[in-house]
Symmetry: C2
Subunit: 303 residues, 2 copies
Amino acid sequence: MKYAIVGAGAIGLFYGSKLVQSGAEVHFLFHTDYNHVKTNGLQIESVLGNFSLNNVNAYSDAKQMPKCDVVLVCLKTTQNHLLPQLLAPIVNQNSTIVLIQNGLNQEQIVAQHFATQNIVGAMAFICSNKIGAGHIRHLDYGKLTLGIFRGQTNDMQQLSSDLQNAGIETEITPDLNKARWKKLVWNIPFNGLCVALNTTTDQLMQNTYTHTLVYDLMCETIAAANACGCNIKPDFADKMMHNTDQMKPYLPSMRLDFDNHRQMEIQAIYAEPINTSFQVGFDMKKTKMLMQQLQFIQASYMQ
Amino acid sequence: MKYAIVGAGAIGLFYGSKLVQSGAEVHFLFHTDYNHVKTNGLQIESVLGNFSLNNVNAYSDAKQMPKCDVVLVCLKTTQNHLLPQLLAPIVNQNSTIVLIQNGLNQEQIVAQHFATQNIVGAMAFICSNKIGAGHIRHLDYGKLTLGIFRGQTNDMQQLSSDLQNAGIETEITPDLNKARWKKLVWNIPFNGLCVALNTTTDQLMQNTYTHTLVYDLMCETIAAANACGCNIKPDFADKMMHNTDQMKPYLPSMRLDFDNHRQMEIQAIYAEPINTSFQVGFDMKKTKMLMQQLQFIQASYMQ
């Protein structure tokens, strides 16, 4: 089994280095950090134990990489327009492309460009931040949920097994679409409100007004998901509220993007769910309002 | 005719000094600016012409003031809990209390404390800022719309006539409730969004996403008003959008309150319309979301 990691940030470096720990052959595609990693390797600070990796299979150009059985795409969805060019040299006809990404409908977009490959969607339930070149800090959680979008792939089971051997919890879901919507139930309120109100998850939970607003947005997301045929139970919102109460104060990925004046994943996390549910007659009114605010905020710092 | 001005800020000083210009007897109640005004008088910079007033009838204590025929209440609604105490020494049984304030339902609250007096609601369509002690800058507009809440008052006509003599446009509306809701159609989107997104009216109009959001909030407010029996035509939102396009960039009063870490008029402008329409079965979903955000923001700078 040959693995490729495309997008070596907080998520890609975590799962990639864990696969190396389990004995797998892993090829990492780097952008700005290539020279640093070639010289200094990777540093992983993790609640599961710190470690570092030297002699990493690091590349600065996808065309130098070998064909891989499984390609883990860990880029932000805002970079998905690059995937046709980045993935073409790495995949063969039977490769499995795994999108470890937020939001909705990204598998469809990749599927249009890669007609024969297996396509898997994956959701990382993890608190992990990149704190320097080739250096990440894994704060909490780590579970990876996988689901087939297209194809019949044994390689997904192998990936799951290899991660489990490295101490990572994995789950294979029979309903990728439902799992993606369930992740949105958390991502839609917390990513957007942490940017719009320039705050953190714990502050939103402590204020009685935003506590209600978070819950309202969760319920709206569940209603939209169910209009799209997902059959998520209403008490899932209560579970997510309870889980968030147990979490340490956390800056969601969109807040980090905002703080660093990077493009936010507004399309994948907001526009796609809003448009998909609108097509079946459901109007995500509050989610749409949050998206409009995020677009205004992003326009204030990006061209 | 004796006039009293309670709340000598940007609005109270403008209309009060215009009444003085028209020859009326006006008594001003000041809070922090009393000593300054007693010594230096009032400075009015206005698009209608600059002027200053010396020998102002200024008071620091309502109990020193004479009984007045017409009391113009120009406090922020956040100070309305002070009105029973402030107005009692100034009014007689036949006085007319005029609330020049934003929002909804404030006349009801005052009516509970003043059982026999005439009560008038008024809306100032004016861009006027206080720029120093006893010193205001009137940038644009100035029209005052008046409507009876309780009683039969000739003094309201006299007030209207005196203001007109001073060059101020006035209008007497037969439907105060409808007029209050029509003002909310502008106040609900612009006051709140200028705080939540830390911006100005022109920026909200220029961005395509917030342009749509402003319009959505206007339409929601019109629908709520009509659920309360107001019969506002849907194209009123289009008129308000057009009017705002013609305006100079403007900081609404709530944005000034936010900038100066003062309490915002969330109760009068948001909670009252939301609760009033909810009682007749209309859910102002987006307006409620904006209110929740404003409450979170206010809690971040006030105890």
